[in-house]
Amino acid sequence: MSENRKKTIDVALNRVEGDLELRIEHEDGVVTNAWSKGIMYRGFENMLKGRGALDGLVLTPRVCGICGTAHLLTAAKALDMISGAQLPVNALLVRNLAMMAEHIQSDLRHGILMFMQDCHNPAYASLPLYGEAVRRYQAFKGRSVIGAIGMTKKILEIVAILGGQWPNSSFIVPGGVASVPTFNDIVNCTYIINLFTTWYEEQILGCPLERWQQVRSEQDLQAWLDESDAHRDGDLGFFIRFARLVGLDRLGRGHGNFVSFGQLELPQGSAVRGRTADPLLLAAGFIGQGQAPAGCDQELVTEHVAYSHFVDYPGGLHPSEGLTQPYVSPYEIIKYSFCKAPRYNGRPAETGPLAQMLTSGHPLFADMIAAGGPNAYVRELARLTRPAELLPAMKTWAGEIDPEAPFYHSVREIPDGHGYGLIDASRGALGHWVEISRQKIAHYQIITPTAWNGSPRDHDGVRGPWEEALIGTPIADPDNPVEIGHVIRSFDACQVCSVHLLTNNAPATGRSRCVRV
């Protein structure tokens, strides 16, 4: 292989991530190396130092324009821990319902509005499914697009109803929730869950939730697809047909390590049960390549900065001791990202719905990973079908709220101490590590899901998850590297959400790039 056959593409993946750039090195039409660059310093950790103990509840939801509820919950859980708060059952139910509504809207907006948009990429114009893809996913015209926007708007109304404020709801507080939904509010939530479930069954699954839940292996999946036209004609059926046609299962393998912080605490006395003995509906865990799921110990989380634009320290630091000191030099040749590199027990790990399904013991995804390893197809399949895991529990939990019982146990002040909040946000493992001293924030460290997935290389030079997942990706047309888009979008990258400007000069396609040869 001569060196001059290598070519480099800088891809500004606007549709995925305005503050994310990828540098792809490819040779003979195959990606041979990749660098994921976060190009904006955020600095929330430093912004929070010295502020009031409760300020993280207001400021950290601004980290992300899509996952505000997740950051609010994570910040509150850290303070729950420090204050030793015991939450009433109603508080857990309300918190869970709000998070599930946020997940469902995120899963379907990403799936239908982002991922499936690539199905009518010009690269596929000659494929037999192209016309159907246009009819479904053409912006503002496709029937799936219109349905997804309308119904995800509807499901989010649950957060507004339960939180009593929209947007920027701040109803989750240490000790519970500050809002007290009425009986009528709960009836409204149940109505929305039922309405959404009906739409999801008809439009996305093409079958009742109960039928989909019988799919427990890849063989079952094939039988389900063959069973009826309704299954094949739903968006899930179309996705499977399209994925097989273009070979999504051959793209985006990655390291094969998965991490989930778990989520959705099972309230005492609830009729809802998880698949495992974990006290969460979706269990926490770590899965090393080819290994069985193990528990997740946050003590094993570290952040590396060897390739990140921060002042160096050797190896990795636990977030409770993390340092966030930006450092940029014009002479820099090693560091290339404003993202740190989170590692679990020293290893990179992907996070998101697929990791969540695996650590919580979903048999279909365990079977698919055992058979073919991770890939873009199974990653997106997990995202599109996660609502099927959540909707039945949502309906049960809405019915278990007792408007006459407490929603909050008083927390008069936050004492000095360390704590952390860990959840799975819509895109995966999210953690806030907090130290409170004299009623003020002494230390705050946040690791977002995209920091896990989009991390740069670590102290040992090991690539981050999607950097690794891109290796071996074929690129048919370097001017339209749709294959790279499939891989990155299967992780659902998110980092740009802090700035939304109305611009008059935005690129027409959202796929601006420059090619360097």
Binding site: R15, W166, P167, N168, C497, T509
Partner: protein, 152 residues
């Protein structure tokens, strides 16, 4: 006429702080009972429900590329230039305004955007707040006292 003033942006990012600054100015004023002031934050498409249940919506946001000099521009969503139609995490006001007619039940409210181009100085934001109040209830959707600074 029920009016909703939605201020959009991120108070922690200077380039996107105009909306929140105008919100804070308006929050310190006595508004008519029929006017609801909303901190729209970074909600993007999540603001769709706020385009329902009212007759007029005034959106305040930082804008870029709509005038040569820093200042205020009044924009009619129907007259906005084509925007990227792909949804993404960066999808903000432009996507929201384009999606609204397709997914909301009619009648839609009259929508006007008060855009702030360039640095969000205190003077500019106070002027934007005044324009918002002058626009409340305006049948034309334009401020009742249009000043040169507002010319788009």
């Amino acid at each position: 006429m029920r009016t909703r003033i939605i201020c959009i942006g991120n108070p922690f990012i200077a380039a996107d702080a105009a909306g929140p600054m105008v919100h804070d100015i308006l929050a310190g004023r006595s508004l008519p009972a029929a006017v609801e002031l909303v901190d729209g934050g970074l909600a993007g498409l999540r603001l769709l429900p706020l385009l329902e249940g009212c007759d007029q919506v005034i959106v305040v946001d930082a804008v870029e590329g709509f005038r040569d000099e820093p200042g205020i521009v009044i924009l009619d969503p129907a007259a906005l230039p084509p925007v990227p139609v792909d949804y993404g995490h960066q999808a903000g006001l432009a996507y929201l305004l384009q999606a609204a007619p397709h997914v909301l039940d009619p009648p839609l409210p009259a929508i006007v955007v008060v855009g702030i181009e360039g640095p969000a100085t205190d003077a500019i934001c106070r002027e934007a707040a005044r324009i918002c109040l002058d626009t409340v209830g305006s049948a034309s959707g334009r401020p009742c006292r249009l000043q040169p600074v507002c010319a788009g």
